[in-house]
């Protein structure tokens, strides 16, 4: 019988993708040009987020009293703002701020959303009902209004904006995770695991969680895009990061009054936001394609 199995094994392994699924993932990323590009862009942007302060030519909060509202020039590559700060330096510094806010907000969403989603799906019954009704209620309040109210309650600041954005997208995330968990829960291997007598926590930890990580990852990227936009939107209505923090949305807000006099003030932060969100979204798309079994031939 050993002999048999060897030939069988030979037949099977050869046909399929490489030994480690992780490898396959990178292979696939490499194959998708858009994914590769967005990954490179994101890595670059993250790098800027880290080293920005060192490569920035000026202090982002220091005003040059001689150079208010100057257009792009050799001295100030992207120009200066209304109070004479170097826009390029501010955008560089802002990268970190913006990314941190978005990532932390998504962190809140993901941790709470996953917990609620998994628990809801796993426990079922009354708890499921209760949690989902609460999510319904939160969902019925439009995100930005909820965020507005939270910021109004806690006072405007970067941290509070983060919390507000994070909280306001918990319900959608929880629902998505719950749906994904339900699929896993009804899968054969969870049932098989239960038939062996495996305890619940083990099943959640080793059967459910590893199998929703793909989904989690994909949703996460999608939510990061949303979070950056929301951060910017809160900044835009003056409830985000507080001046002089160089957060992109806040910068856009400051620039909106100078659209006709100093186009660069609103244009560059706007572009920066769009590029990052675009990169994140495209990466999310690529990840979804990669992880979605339907698109795997």
């Amino acid at each position: 019988m050993n002999e048999v199995s060897k030939t069988v094994a030979h037949g099977a392994t050869h046909a399929n993708s490489p030994i480690f699924p992780k490898l396959a993932f990178w292979e696939k990323i490499k194959k998708q040009r858009a994914a590769k590009l967005s990954l490179v862009v994101l890595l670059l942007i993250s790098a800027i987020g880290i080293v920005g302060p060192w490569i920035a030519p000026y202090d982002p909060t220091e005003s040059n009293y001689e150079a208010f509202l100057q257009g792009p020039s050799a001295k100030h590559v992207l120009g200066t703002d209304a109070i004479g700060r170097d826009l390029f330096s501010r955008i560089l510094y802002g990268t970190r701020v913006t990314l941190v806010v978005a990532v932390m907000a998504v962190g809140i969403t993901v941790s709470a959303g996953t917990m609620i989603g998994v628990i809801s799906a796993y426990m079922g019954g009354f708890i499921d009902h209760l949690l989902m009704r609460i999510m319904d209620i939160l969902l019925a309040l439009p995100g930005i209004i909820l965020a507005l109210a939270i910021v109004a309650a806690l006072g405007p600041s970067q941290t509070n904006a983060m919390i507000a954005i994070g909280i306001s997208s918990i319900p959608s995330f929880a629902r998505l995770i719950r749906a994904a968990t339900l699929v896993i829960m009804s899968s054969g291997y969870v049932e098989a695991s239960r038939s062996i007598g495996t305890p619940s926590w083990w099943i959640i930890l080793f059967q459910v969680l590893p199998n929703i990580t793909n989904v989690l990852f994909v949703y996460m990227t999608l939510f990061v895009g949303g979070a950056i936009l929301d951060t910017a939107a809160l900044g835009f209505i003056g409830l985000g990061a507080q001046p002089p923090t160089p957060e992109w949305g806040t910068m856009l807000n400051e620039g909106k009054d100078y659209l006709s006099d100093a186009w660069w003030l609103a244009t560059y932060p706007g572009l920066a936001i769009t590029i990052v969100v675009l990169a994140v979204n495209r990466l999310g798309d690529a990840l979804r394609d990669i992880f979605d079994p339907r698109t795997q031939k």
Binding site: L141, A149, F236, L252, K256, L259, A266, G270, T274, V277
Partner: protein, 312 residues
């Protein structure tokens, strides 16, 4: 069917109740004493206290909540602290503008989104598809206010084609509605495309081909109907959100809708107004969702109206 509607209404009421409690609590945690705000800086402590007493703000919160709800059920949502007009009147004055914007925006979004999605799916993996979806991705990545500002700059200021001073006429509607529409269409077109691509790979499409049907029939009769469920869901959610005010777009385009009212109410700590708006939004959300659910049944006969849908 009746039973189902009843069920939905009941759960809708529960959600609304939840919203009312939640918003009531939230509103009272927002710092800023409404009475102080109403009376201004010059008021004395005694005056403030007196008015608090008058307004029942000294009562314990649960008591205040119950009083509020008792009236709300009778259609009395209190009066705005700012304008002293009934909240419901204020909201209803703004609602038509918001509804106009929401429906126009969604209408545009649906037309653009479906067209783009279907074309992209039909020419899957071609340059056209790539370009359409790239456009959609950009649409999803644009900050709405930025796009709004640029649109104003371009079409009103530079070209002078459209007025911008936030009237509520049809001409005023074009820019904000298009901005909204373009932004929302991104999501719809992507959904439509992925839905179409998936549906086109289904066995029944192969069956339809095996029957020798024309491509247009396959695309529009056999495929599109099956794609409508996620599209309708998203459109429903968007309508619900927009009917609660496209806060940012209203702000940018000076549109006199609920969103602008909401921002003003929040900054003025106009508690009854905030509460009224939140409740209205909840109500709209619940109603729209209910209609979406009913639509499901019309679109897809498999959706058993009686079963509870989950994971939406």
């Amino acid at each position: 069917m009746k039973q189902y509607l009843l069920n939905r209404m009941l759960s809708g009421v529960i959600v609304l109740l939840g919203i009312s409690i939640f918003s009531f609590a939230l509103v009272h945690f927002i710092p800023g004493d409404p009475v102080r705000i109403m009376l201004g800086e010059k008021a004395t402590k005694a005056q403030v206290e007196q008015l608090r007493e008058q307004m029942g703000l000294n009562q314990p919160l649960p008591h205040q909540y119950l009083t509020y709800m008792e009236k709300a059920i009778q259609g009395d949502f209190g009066t705005s602290l700012q304008t002293e007009r009934p909240v419901i009147v204020e909201i209803m004055e703004r609602f038509p503008a918001t509804a106009k914007l929401a429906f126009a925006g969604i209408g545009i979004a649906v037309v653009i989104g479906l067209t783009m999605g279907i074309i992209a799916a039909k020419y899957k993996n071609t340059l056209l598809d790539f370009m359409l979806m790239a456009a959609a991705s950009i649409g999803l990545s644009l900050p709405s206010f930025w796009l709004g500002l640029i649109v104003i700059m371009l079409f009103s200021v530079q070209l002078g084609w459209f007025p911008i001073a936030g009237g509520t006429g049809w001409k005023d509607l074009i820019l904000p509605a298009c901005t909204l529409g373009v932004l929302s269409s991104a999501m719809i077109s992507r959904l439509t495309r992925s839905g179409m691509v998936e549906v086109l790979s289904h066995d029944y499409i192969r069956t339809a081909r095996a029957k020798g049907l024309r491509e247009s029939i396959i695309l529009f009769r056999h495929a599109l109907c099956n794609v409508m469920i996620p599209v309708v869901t998203v459109v429903g959610l968007q309508i619900a959100t927009l009917l609660g005010g496209a806060v940012i777009i209203e702000q940018v385009f000076n549109w006199p809708g609920i969103g602008a009212l909401a921002i003003r109410a929040i900054s003025a700590r106009d508690f009854p107004m905030i509460q009224g708006i939140v409740l209205l939004m909840g109500f709209v959300y619940v109603v729209v969702n209910m209609m979406v659910d009913l639509l499901y049944g019309l679109i897809d006969p498999r959706v058993d109206l009686i079963t509870e849908k989950e994971g939406r």
